[in-house]
Amino acid sequence: MKPSFRLDQHPRRWPQPLSSPPAGYFEQLPTRVMDQVAATAPVRRPLLPGWLWHAPAYVRTSLASGVLLGTFAAALWLGGGPLGQPAPAAPLANVPQEQLLDYLATDAHLTTLDLAELPAQNLAFTRHYLHPSAAELTEALDAQPTEEAPVL
């Protein structure tokens, strides 16, 4: 019967079982590592100034909280409100005027009060509607229903 191999009875090759690296390897390795470090990984500048880096943890935590709150408050203040809704005039200006007129003529239910509050932004456009020709006036009056009682 073949004798069993026992690891604890085997003369251990200590400290290493493999052949040594080339002569002078460990003398050169630090220089090669330093060269590689200099070439591939420049010194990373710390994000914080030195005095802050060495400050106690509670000081850094308080400062970080202050900066965070300040940023949030500044964002609120500059944004004009928590929801930061955009000004309604900006997107409306991008809509072609034909589409606006079409919407006002067909879908929107406007009162005279709405019309009175409209700013006269496009004067030429407004003037066109405020100074109609006689034919346009006649056409508009003819289109009015005649059976309604006049409002006095």
């Binding site: 290493q16 493999l18 080339p22 460990f26």
Partner: protein, 190 residues
């Protein structure tokens, strides 16, 4: 130079390079041999050892001394080794046995082992272990590292490490005893 001195000097930009040079000189042999036993080939071990120290350089600023410096460096070296072996398998779609066979071929070419039949068989048996178990075996058998320190490096409990080591010893003894027996096969998975 003591570790705390190295760390203190490293924080100062004026003495940073000097401190790091000391660190490399202090730990290079341990790191190299730790890596070399895992990848066998000197060229691979050389590349990985340099990678380990570059990583140490990059992250030493954030080292918080809640672990020993040496343990921390060993952990980086261990992760580099395991990552290297894993990527080798993924790259060439090699199963466990083929990487083991490749490492064994390199081992057989090593003049320090080639002439000793029992030693060669022992080294082959060690190579047949799964990577993590081989790592545990090397740390315990060759480096005589305490289990507590191994637990810090590997992130595994002391009990699990002890079990892994004893299981590894059993598998190695079984292989060296029976490898020449016709029809012998061992379960390599762990």
């Amino acid at each position: 130079m003591e570790d705390h001195e190295i760390l203190l000097k490293f924080q100062n930009p004026a003495s940073r390079n000097l401190a790091f040079n000391h660190l490399v000189r202090k730990y290079q042999q341990k790191v190299y041999w730790h890596v070399r036993k895992m990848v066998i080939d000197h060229a691979d071990a050389d590349d990985l050892t340099q990678d380990v120290f570059v990583k140490v350089w990059k992250h030493l600023e954030n080292f918080r001394q809640d672990a020993q410096l040496f343990t921390w460096i060993y952990r980086i070296a261990t992760n580099e080794c395991l990552g290297f072996l894993q990527s080798k398998r993924r790259k060439f779609f090699l199963p466990l046995n083929d990487v083991g066979a490749e490492l064994a071929a390199k081992l057989e070419a090593d003049p320090a082992v080639a002439g000793d039949a029992i030693e060669l068989k022992l080294q082959r048996a060690i190579l047949r272990l799964p990577d993590k178990q081989r790592l545990v075996f090397n740390l315990r058998y060759y480096d005589e590292m305490p289990y507590e320190q191994m637990a810090e490096i590997t992130g595994t409990s002391v009990g699990a490490l002890k079990a892994s080591y004893h299981h590894a010893v059993r598998k190695i003894e079984d292989y060296v005893t029976n490898a020449d027996t016709p029809g012998y096969s061992s379960d390599e998975a762990d």
